[in-house]
Symmetry: C2
Subunit: 274 residues, 2 copies
Amino acid sequence: MKIGDALKHYRVKPGGKVDLSALDAGDFSLFPEGGKGASVEVFNQLRDELQSLQKVLYAQNKHRVLVVLQAMDTGGKDGCVKHVFSQVDPQGLAVTAFKKPSEEDLAHDFLWRVHPHVPANGQIAIFNRSHYEDILAVRVKKLFGDEVWKRRYRHVVEFERMLAEEGTTIIKMFLHISKDEQKRRLESRLANPAKYWKFNPDDLSDRARWSEFQTAYEDLIEKTSTEQAPWFIIPANRKWYRNLIVARILVDTLRGLKMDFPTVNWDPRSVVID
Amino acid sequence: MKIGDALKHYRVKPGGKVDLSALDAGDFSLFPEGGKGASVEVFNQLRDELQSLQKVLYAQNKHRVLVVLQAMDTGGKDGCVKHVFSQVDPQGLAVTAFKKPSEEDLAHDFLWRVHPHVPANGQIAIFNRSHYEDILAVRVKKLFGDEVWKRRYRHVVEFERMLAEEGTTIIKMFLHISKDEQKRRLESRLANPAKYWKFNPDDLSDRARWSEFQTAYEDLIEKTSTEQAPWFIIPANRKWYRNLIVARILVDTLRGLKMDFPTVNWDPRSVVID
């Protein structure tokens, strides 16, 4: 196996079972030799290709791409956005970070605040957290009765089906880190005043429910990984590997759209500019 | 049968067949005696009750109500909104008229422009035309391939299921007029300079496709009348009867929510105001 297998290897097949404890968050099996140092060149090539593909996506103004990122705290969502998308034209890219829902959000159905941010033609939209929090957090923190999050599996599957059938390509990524790795990352935030702002004491209460969140993620991924909107479980303990795999999956997905610059219905040679 | 049977009588049962040509648009069978003159008092009572029910809806801030109005041109959507809702506190009411989709709308899925306008807690939202145009017009005018409107039945059913399960009460009304009645109404617009603005020459091209639209409506109502979001077919040749039935259905639906003013968790008697 090699890096080119990432799209297939880390994709959760519809109907497949998910056992996060059996998936090594430190895995780097698709790029086993050379490690971080050797990965730089490969990653830079992928990042350049992503930039080129996005130019065509934007010019063609036909496809819409939605990337959903989910992870436990410190899982690397922000870092992933920064590293993988830093070269992409910001005009064709919109990142939405979904925080705790507001009172106005809660006065509506849970997809109401999400829908305005789905991508338009020619656009890539990235959701840093998403409508999946309205299942995960609601379940683990018991914010509403169990019937609420249970029926939301169907709501998100059908919502994503509609988006896909209307023309949106959807990729959902769970950045999988281990509990030990989270400990290291939280400690590093506390050891560095420049990272204090990233530390939120609330993160510790989520950490205390680690296994409940893992179970909730397993169920969620099993029930909502579909042909039209698959989940990918990305080993994310090694940041270089996480970025490499995320970039590779995005590039292969965009290549799969077989895009091209739009053709014009006039003859450029016939244009006379006085 | 009497007016109190309207909710049951004009509701399209999920899975039921619809043959519009067999339904008399001039029907007034639930209020057979006295006609328009005798209906005024009954209508005014219903309008008052609707006003009272909306006050509780607003104060309780718990339920959301969505009313979808569809009809052929001149079917009476505007008149229905004006007459039935004229006494309701505008603060708790939002009417959205959906026109031809903009370029920006078309760059997204068809529900994207609709979703922001669904009602919040305590609110009644009225859609004057709706996401159903994205099935009807797309089908009859062949705006996209047939596969597009066909799969949208499922999209709207699942969208409305999600809204309903998240707390929205949905009522969908088709104001059913005959082709002859439309002729009279169009002629009356052309005979009255104060009504010229309501006449749109495009209406005639829709009229020329009358039977295609009727078939499209029949299919649509059959495929999207569900327990959680039923369609009602309202005989609408007689405006007084249409208003009476619409008001009655709304009142009975709101009564069914068994609403009450919210209770307070403090003792009003213990409050001392210096």
